[in-house]
């Protein structure tokens, strides 16, 4: 009997740009497992994703649906708000659920249960990396922070940045908020302009195309400070929207680098597999999260010798894994399944990304 991997990731709605690459990556991994590795535990692997539609309720329904069909592993959307319901369903069914890339520390065994994981580093790591890059490497002493209120991810990303930037000596000039989908930033702009000094760096914690929109608005208003953000920037449509005109002096922290073997020695091989499968090369690091999610489950199941939820969870807790998105080591359930992981740093020039290397923050803030 085949091993069914069930997905409730979002193919439509605001979450789609982050989840769809993951789904695509996962498909490649499934094919690879079946073709090259004889499946998982000798059983063929099948992956079915039912669209979660960027709506927690639908995500929950989809997860239940795939579980009812016999799924033994759940792939949850890339975010706590959307992914949580899928993991809760998985937890109820006693199987392991893993988010493609939820990075909010809320996505932990504390809140979801002892069989739930996220593949991503937590925002503690992501924000600390950004803060240290700004202050230590670039010498930017003052920051202006805009937080999108839309999901837990955007909020906690800012939160940890504020804490860490402050902790290592930086100065926050102003914290500002808005909610995704507001197409008007005149308020934020007005407040920014009212500051006595221009900030050295602007940290924008937002989501999707809004990143480009805010950046554009800032630049159009004559503000030239560099822009810094998290993995949601790792989205080619954002880069395209920024274009050559606005796509410079933008930096972000993400999961890995797809462009070359600098990201990971196996990367070129993955890129080739991916290209063979989908007909075009991967364009964001999020495809790697999909591949890794499936491979991680496969490795853990092989170690455990079973797909049983508790056993796989234990295997995940007790071992270290070498992944395209870096080396990963989970803490045990009592400590929240903290993902010990490094972060990749990428910069944009005229809309084109370039790899700045792996970073590992020294003292990330506590979750």
């Amino acid at each position: 009997k085949e091993v069914l991997i069930g997905g409730a990731a979002c193919e439509t709605g605001m979450q789609a740009p982050l989840d769809t690459p993951g789904i695509n990556g996962a498909k490649v991994a499934v094919k690879y497992l079946n073709d090259e590795k004889g499946g998982i535990l000798g059983r063929p692997v099948k992956f079915v994703n039912l669209d979660g539609k960027s709506d927690p309720v639908t995500v929950g329904n989809s997860a239940l649906e795939v579980i009812a069909q016999g799924a033994e592993f759940i792939i949850a959307p890339c975010d706590f708000d959307f992914g949580g319901p899928a993991s809760m369903a998985a937890q109820d069914a006693g199987i392991v659920g893993m988010s493609l890339c939820a990075s909010d520390p809320l996505f932990s065994s504390w809140s979801l249960g002892d069989k739930q994981f996220t593949l991503s580093m937590w925002n503690t790591t992501m924000s600390a990396t950004a803060a240290e890059f700004a202050y230590n490497e670039k010498g930017w002493k003052t920051a202006y922070v805009v937080t999108d209120q839309i999901i837990a991810y955007t909020r906690s990303l800012s939160e940890y940045f504020l804490v860490h930037f402050d902790a290592i000596g930086g100065k926050i000039l102003l914290e500002d908020t808005y909610t995704n989908g507001d197409n008007d930033f005149s308020a934020q702009l007005a407040r920014l302009k009212a500051l006595d000094e221009e900030p050295d760096v602007i940290f924008i914690s937002s989501y999707g195309i809004d990143i480009a929109l805010i950046t554009k608005t800032l630049r159009e208003a004559g503000i030239t400070a560099p822009i810094l953000g998290g993995d949601s920037y790792d989205d080619p449509s954002v880069w395209e929207a920024l274009g050559t005109k606005f796509g410079s002096d933008v930096y972000f922290v993400t999961h890995t680098w797809m462009g070359s073997a600098e990201g990971h020695p196996d990367m070129p091989e993955f890129v080739k597999l991916y290209t063979d499968y989908h007909g075009s090369a991967p364009d964001t690091a999020f495809v790697a999260t999909g591949w890794d999610t499936v491979m991680l489950f496969a490795q853990a199941a092989e170690i455990a010798g079973t797909t049983d939820g508790a056993a796989v969870a234990k295997a995940l807790e007790d071992n270290e894994f070498n992944l395209l998105t870096g080396d990963l080591d989970y803490s045990n359930a009592a400590d929240g399944h903290y993902p010990y992981k490094a972060a990749a740093l990428v910069g944009l020039t005229e809309g084109n990304p370039s790899f700045l290397g792996w970073r590992n923050p020294e003292n990330p803030p506590a979750p």
Binding site: V48, V57, G60, I150, I151
Partner: protein, 342 residues
């Protein structure tokens, strides 16, 4: 006044039997997904029948209903959420709520009452508006409620997912609540208040001229309607256990309004029929989507197809039956007629 007339009795009996049949069908199917669908259906029946109490009898389209539902869902969730979960979900919660964790069903009832109180306060001045102004003000009310839910992070977790509610709503509970709702709707419709409100729906000036106080009639109806929406919200919240403000927004509003209009808003039968029909349609399409996805036959992506088919069906349906399936007559009237003929 004699409330349980023939029409009421037959209709209520009919739905009692129907609900029990559905219950037993579920029992024999025995699938978790099916049970989930049926439970959801019963909750929707509460919602749509509750909407019918106001909208059907007063003739005023109300958009605010889903907003009331969200008040019920959030307030009951706030009351019943285990203290530990509150630490995760609502980190800025006001201290008075921090140590509250009531029984879920009690919370749902309190949520319903709370919703009714809020509705009573908010809607009284709006009840004198007619036509477009009334519809639009209810739309604005939905937006106000939605924006408050989105903005008031301390108790709702803002636009983010509100989770951690105990799963307390079972099929049986949903069934009982929805049956009570149906009984209430029928009794109300044929009561003095219901009749006068229906009169005012047809002609407000004439209704005033026979002594109807339209503002209070409407007000009473919308409070009752909001109470039911609040209960439905609470039940739904304790069934789904995690949701976000988006779960109570335009798409859901139109889903509910489609249900009532497809069924026929003037009748309780219509409201139930609409809920049934749309749910069946929706679930059928979802089922098809799922079967196709699992079958490996069709590999291209067809996201959005469900909605497309559903919208086309709704349009075609409304073109052929613009007044709905049960425009004037309750099922009980028809049964009554058949019986009398024999």
């Amino acid at each position: 006044m004699k409330i349980i007339n023939n029409e009421n009795t037959f209709s209520i009996l009919f739905f009692l039997i129907l609900f029990i049949i559905i219950y037993f069908v579920n029992f024999f199917v025995g699938s978790a997904i099916f049970e989930r669908t049926v439970t959801n259906l019963f909750i929707y029946i509460i919602l749509v029948v509750g909407l019918q109490v106001f909208m059907g009898n007063s003739g005023i389209l109300s958009f605010a209903h889903i907003g009331f539902m969200s008040i019920g869902a959030y307030s009951s969730g706030l009351l019943s959420m285990p203290i530990k979960m509150k630490g995760f979900v609502l980190r800025d919660l006001y201290p008075i709520f921090e140590n509250v964790a009531f029984d879920p069903i009690l919370s749902i009832l309190i949520g319903g009452i709370f919703t009714a109180i809020i509705a009573a306060i908010l809607t009284l001045p709006l009840m004198r508006l007619n036509d477009a102004a009334a519809v639009i003000s209810s739309f604005a009310l939905l937006m106000v409620i939605h924006s408050i839910v989105v903005g008031w992070s301390a108790v709702t977790n803002g636009p983010r997912t509100f989770f951690g509610l105990p799963k307390a709503t079972t099929l049986e509970i949903a069934l009982i609540f929805s049956f009570l709702t149906v009984i209430f709707a029928f009794i109300y419709k044929n009561s003095k208040f219901g009749l006068l409100l229906r009169a005012s729906r047809d002609n407000d000036i004439a209704a005033e001229s026979i002594g109807a106080n339209i503002v209070y009639l409407r007000w009473f109806a919308i409070i009752a309607s909001a109470f039911l929406a609040g209960i439905a919200g609470g039940l739904w919240g304790h069934f789904i256990t995690s949701f976000s403000p988006k779960s109570f927004y335009l798409k859901e509003t139109f889903l509910v309004i489609s249900m009532i209009i497809i069924g026929g808003s003037f009748t309780v039968t219509g409201a139930i029929a609409g809920a049934l029909l749309v749910t069946i349609g929706y679930e059928f399409l979802r089922w098809t989507e799922k079967v196709i996805k699992f079958s490996d036959v069709i590999t291209f992506e067809f996201i959005g197809l469900t909605e497309i088919v559903l919208s086309i069906t709704i349009i075609i349906f409304l073109i052929t039956k613009p007044k709905g399936l049960f425009p004037f007559k309750e099922i009980g009237d028809t049964i009554n007629k058949i019986i009398k003929k024999e």
